[in-house]
Symmetry: C2
Subunit: 427 residues, 2 copies
């Protein structure tokens, strides 16, 4: 049987784009035999038409004019790998308006403009797929929308940023500082020259927003989400956490609640026996709890041209074989974020204080006053008149905890609160 | 929008069947809102129509006559949860011949009769789906057939039997014997009164066969597969393995090779830092390597009414929304098993020998003679004239290893070879 040709256009011929070109070529036989479809990459558009990408492709397909794809009625599927929410937004909009299906790996675009683009897709009988935007190659969005559809998904925890997971894993393994490991990550190409987007949790917040959309059918605003990065996670935190039986991970934390979605991104002290605790370095993982499925975890490479191209090609094949799905539910229903002050968490708090009798009592008083119950406390003398105290609390509302910390920081005996990290797996 | 009603018939109203009935009822709103479909369980057939299953259902739907479903033209989807390859085979055949789509959790049926039933489905414009047959609720078969289709899947490792994983995990954790933990597993309902099917690896071999079909598009015979159970894994093995940095897991091991499929089921010494090593108790996991995806792992509950009903309902929804897929490739292509003697493995071998000078040399000679290179060796004196030796070898062909073991067992100084376990993660 002759394979049916489907013409694909690609925007963005960087590392990921080159990976897609390479994988489409390498696996064209596999794809044709499994699907009966021959995927033909007929047009590639990038502002840079000169650089050698080290992949085999027909030079005539490459150009810098977006309309070459947008205006070509034969291109039915468009892959967007430009990134960001500027040019990409315009191009994706233009393609959807022409009724072209769009496959993208762009988490910022989907988190910020998913509702508008999804509506545009529906109006024009096109599909918008974005499996690669969360967890790289890990099949997570498609399973949630297909074989797990019969479940109520209640909760999701995700290690969704490889850069920060590499930094935290290496800090734990080597005892080195954040700055040293960040420099190593930059040297290896795991972190960008300006690492803000990763280490401050912006990237993870985009992915948390998309996970909420797909898992719960509720779209929340990434920019309004509570977000804490990992720049404050020091060697001391690594040492204390390990001694107490925890690892530190940057997590996207999601729960579907009656009054909205609790979605946050912050470092977490996770018990060493938690399934996510063993997911190290650049691996990503998403842990889900649903009814009736119970707990479920997906682990794999969350970035890079190989893993990402698997997800992109998977989406291309889905569209090429299924076409439009006119009855698919709208998953971008706007939802409110649960105010973070209403969320309960246990806390790890490290502070520097005067080393004299009565200090512990003063601080304990502030905590007790706001209903913060203490699970564990350890004190270290630093030099003659300074000490460090590490507190582990039981679960308490964020609001009460923040009030207590404000009071504590105002105490004369407290030099500074050095670190506040949420703790999972305690009562 | 009114949900479209789809009528479903259920064969087998045991624990799993009751779980499906419960979950369909509990999640009917979720399913209708996500799919636009109302799944209506109009007929249930079981030889036992009396027992109270503790679930809410309309008694009029329950009967013992299979034709009530087979002959009802309104029932378009049939769920088979009878188990085994006897009655179930007949019923599934009859339903497919009537053009009904069949969803089953029956690994024995699919491993033994998948090719014939799949052909029957194709001839009659029906679909045969069996997500629940491997890994319980874990979405593994559907992702391999959908979002991972663009990959060449090269290898798969699976912890696919919860009973044996519980036994091995508990032996490692508590230091108790196989018999004691088996008794506990039976008391908890994790093992059957006759545990043969689980502990001897038959169940895992069925699942290995299905994984080969779905991952590689190559169907291999489960009965011809090399299969070693866990009854020979003693407390000593647990202790030695742990001391050497390994855990012991019963694995389905699959590799797509040029001359066929290497598919086996046997215990494996797995390095403690392998992703599968942390998958304990009744959890299941499948670890895959593909190109371009790289490594990927799925973890979840591999059995039980809740997890299984998630997979069954996922399949029902797939059929209800997609209907038939006339162009789906035939994945049940008959393939040969690679002869196990041609496969290379490293080995752990424990033997009881005479405690006298020269014994180690005699055994080493037999090993060296067959090209078996030794990575590590440890000797313990048991009593005055008996000693135990544990060998870890480098990789060697199974054929050479078995020849060497035959020679060793014939040595006068060797009382018995107590245990032979394959080792992964060594050169």
């Amino acid at each position: 049987m002759d394979a049916k040709e489907v013409k694909v256009g690609l925007f963005g011929f960087g590392t990921i784009g080159a990976g897609v070109v390479r994988a489409l070529k390498a696996n064209s036989d596999v794809i044709a035999s499994k699907t009966g479809i021959s995927l033909s990459l007929t047009k590639i558009v990038d502002i840079d038409t000169k650089t050698n990408r080290g992949v085999d492709f027909s030079p005539a397909t490459l150009g810098s004019d977006a309309s070459a794809i947008i205006e070509d009625p034969e291109v039915s599927i468009v892959v967007e790998l430009i990134g960001g929410a500027g040019v990409a937004r315009q191009i994706v909009s233009d393609c959807l308006k022409k009724g072209k299906h769009v496959v993208t790996a762009n988490k910022e675009l989907i988190a910020k403009h998913g509702p508008e683009l999804s509506a545009l897709a529906r109006e024009n009988g096109a599909r918008l797929l974005f499996e690669a935007s969360v967890g790289g190659g890990i099949p997570i969005l498609h399973p949630l929308l297909s074989c797990l559809r019969g479940n109520k998904i209640k909760r999701a925890l995700g290690i969704v940023n490889g850069t920060t997971n590499f930094i935290l894993s290496q800090m734990a393994e080597t005892g080195a500082s954040f700055d040293d490991i960040l420099a190593e990550a930059q040297a290896r190409g795991y972190a960008e020259a300006d690492p803000t987007n990763d280490v401050e949790g912006f990237d993870a917040a985009y992915k948390a927003s998309i996970l909420s959309t797909v898992a719960f059918g509720k779209h929340v605003d990434a920019a309004s989400m509570f977000r804490q990065g990992i720049t404050n996670v020091s060697r001391e935190e690594m040492r204390f956490a390990s001694g107490l039986g925890y690892v530190i991970k940057l997590l996207a934390v999601l729960e579907d609640r009656e009054n909205g979605v609790d979605a946050r991104v912050h470092p977490v002290l996770l018990p060493k026996n938690h399934p996510l605790a063993a997911v190290n370095n650049v691996l990503n993982a998403v842990y889900i709890e649903g009814e009736p499925i119970g707990p479920l975890m997906f682990v794999g490479e969350g970035a890079g041209p190989s893993a990402t191209s698997s997800a992109v090609i998977g989406d291309i094949i889905t569209v090429a074989t299924e076409g439009n799905c006119p009855n698919a539910p709208d998953i971008f229903n706007k939802a409110e974020l649960v105010p973070v002050c209403d969320v309960d968490n246990a806390f790890y708090i490290r502070m520097r204080v005067e080393d004299r009798p009565g200090v512990m009592a003063e601080i304990s008083h502030c905590l007790g006053d706001k209903g913060v119950s203490i699970a564990q406390v350890a004190q270290d003398t630093i030099d003659g008149d300074k000490a460090e105290i590490v507190w582990l609390t039981h679960k308490v509302s964020e609001g009460n905890m923040m009030d207590a910390l404000e009071q504590i920081e105002a105490l004369g005996c407290v030099f500074s609160v050095l670190s506040v990290i949420r703790v999972f797996g305690t009562k």
